[in-house]
Symmetry: C2
Subunit: 334 residues, 2 copies
């Protein structure tokens, strides 16, 4: 947390597969400028990094803040990262590899920069400003195209030696189940992500079991998005609701297993699926987790919806950068 | 870690179901006196607490150290605990309930006292003085009568809001499997603890499949201890080896799932089963964990045997107490 006398500004950056978002925060951590751009990863690393820098300059200009007034830049980034060296190792959605983004930003703006896994940044954002405020331990789970997880424990983002951890999307929920992108079988992500749900939903459409989804999207899984599923359920496609509820139960089961290990006070649910069907996910996940956790833990946690939506990653990344800079911890131990 | 100028002594206490052990550490954290006693839980709380206090006085006397020279007492204790208030909530092995041991010790010796889950204390001991020294994140797994787990992350014991966490013994490894003491089914502890192995081994004896174990122990599972299993395997009971290997694989599977969440640098194996068959467990657990973890984590950890044996809990409890007292953290946030 910036000290009261601290008069530095902070940039939070959300580098996504399709869009990038920069937010400038004033010394009291109020957002004072924001800029969103398409990422256009396919135009290559050089053009992409130039767009990142341009976007940060844009928010500085908008608020008439000089780079010399910056305390730091925090970036939430996808894919495997080298957190300490600040390198994007491999970003399949963008086609980028080994991008030393930290060094580039630091050189351009003359202030410290830090990268964080995007899900971790989002969970940290919720911990500082959203649904997890002042919790001792927050577990965040974000089911969407994949299923991301992150944990803030006593104010620290839990991480691996070089990159992030908390791979709740790869908890095994079905022995010998669906093949997962990681090469293993039955991972939560392979059974309960939006992609897995859409595939099951398209199958139901093909069988003639989901007339409303048939009308909205047909059997093209790229068209079966979270909002489409929500609409089909609202219109009465019972089979689609069953498919989504199964996924929510599996998410609850994986969360229960994680609670037995980490005993978080708060479990935060966010991401595309949850945003489209918040009550269904909140209710089913909470009930499943309470039922499947160790009896002594069954009242030890609450389950809540994320509050910050798309702002969580940029807010969390900026706040985490500020936390590192203003505490006495060395950057290497972020 | 006590500062160089610190001249305080520390007591580590291991309160076990059958024995209690006190160790006195000098300001450089060398053990200078030790005393072991039967716990005799069945004699009741009052007699038991008196034995604890007597045992601590014994080690002080042995080393001619006054209570006023003590920096603190750390106790590793079984069962659910209220860590901050220092209360043994329920200790089934001893038949004790709601024992305010922290307050009692503090009053008797005039120094701060702290309680820690015994497995956590053991893992912290290994982190400070044993197989996990200077690791960023240590996961300790101790298969014995039950299966305990603990984690030290950047120097801190991970814990729940009021009690301990890291219940790796209750990771589900067999859907709808053996009934567990917690009331659920297929928990690691219900499938792979010494008790579960002994039951399967006794069944093999009853079927005439394990002639050596038949001679050593028969079908009385109380007689089938870890060392008995090791002996039967060494003498050629192939079925017993298969039963133990299955348990080791299940332990490796539960560890793999935990690595995907916490990404420890070091996984430490200890406890009765591992001490009796160290090579079997080390090899099978390591191989299973490497195979079942996310591919990107498969080289991110090493698996090692615990080094401190029975001393780990007392050493860890004392060092954790010293860590709390000598750091500026409030006891309430231990």
């Amino acid at each position: 947390m910036p000290k009261a006398k601290d008069n530095r500004y902070w940039v939070g950056f959300d580098l996504g597969g399709t869009k990038m978002l920069a937010t400038l925060f004033d010394p009291a951590f109020r957002p004072v400028a924001g800029k969103r751009r398409r990422t256009k990863g396919q135009e290559g690393v050089k053009a992409g990094v130039a767009r990142v820098i341009e976007t940060i300059h844009d928010v500085l200009s908008e608020a008439q803040v000089e780079p010399s007034q910056l305390g730091g830049v925090g970036m939430g980034c996808p894919g495997p990262l080298d957190l300490d060296r600040g390198i994007l190792l491999d970003t399949p959605n963008l086609g980028w590899k080994n991008v030393p983004i930290k060094a580039t930003i630091e050189k351009e703006f003359g202030c410290p920069a830090f990268i964080t896994n995007d899900v971790d940044a989002g969970v940290y954002g919720e911990y500082r400003f959203g649904a997890g405020q002042s919790a001792r331990c927050v577990l965040g789970v974000f089911p969407g195209t994949g299923i991301g997880g992150g944990c803030v424990y006593e104010g620290k983002i839990l991480r691996g030696r070089t990159g992030s951890c908390m791979e709740i999307g790869h908890v095994e929920v079905v022995p010998n189940g669906q093949l997962c992108g990681c090469g293993r079988r039955g991972c939560l992500e392979a059974e309960a992500s939006r992609l897995a749900i859409s595939a099951a939903a398209a199958t139901a459409v093909a069988r003639g079991e989901a007339p409303h989804l048939q009308t909205i999207a047909g059997t093209e899984i790229a068209k079966i998005r979270s909002s489409t599923l929500a609409k089909a359920i609202a219109e009465g496609d019972v089979v689609i609701e069953k498919i989504v509820r199964r996924a929510a139960r599996q998410i609850g089961t994986a969360i229960a297993g994680t609670i037995n290990l980490l005993s978080p006070d708060v479990v935060i649910l966010g991401g595309g699926l949850v945003e489209a069907m918040p009550n269904l996910f909140l209710k089913v996940v909470r009930m499943t987790a309470r039922k499947r956790v160790l009896p002594s833990f069954s009242r030890s946690f609450k389950v809540a919806l994320a509050k910050l939506g798309d702002d969580a990653v940029a807010m969390g990344a900026a706040a985490w950068a500020a936390q590192i800079v203003t505490s006495e911890r060395r950057p290497g131990t972020q």
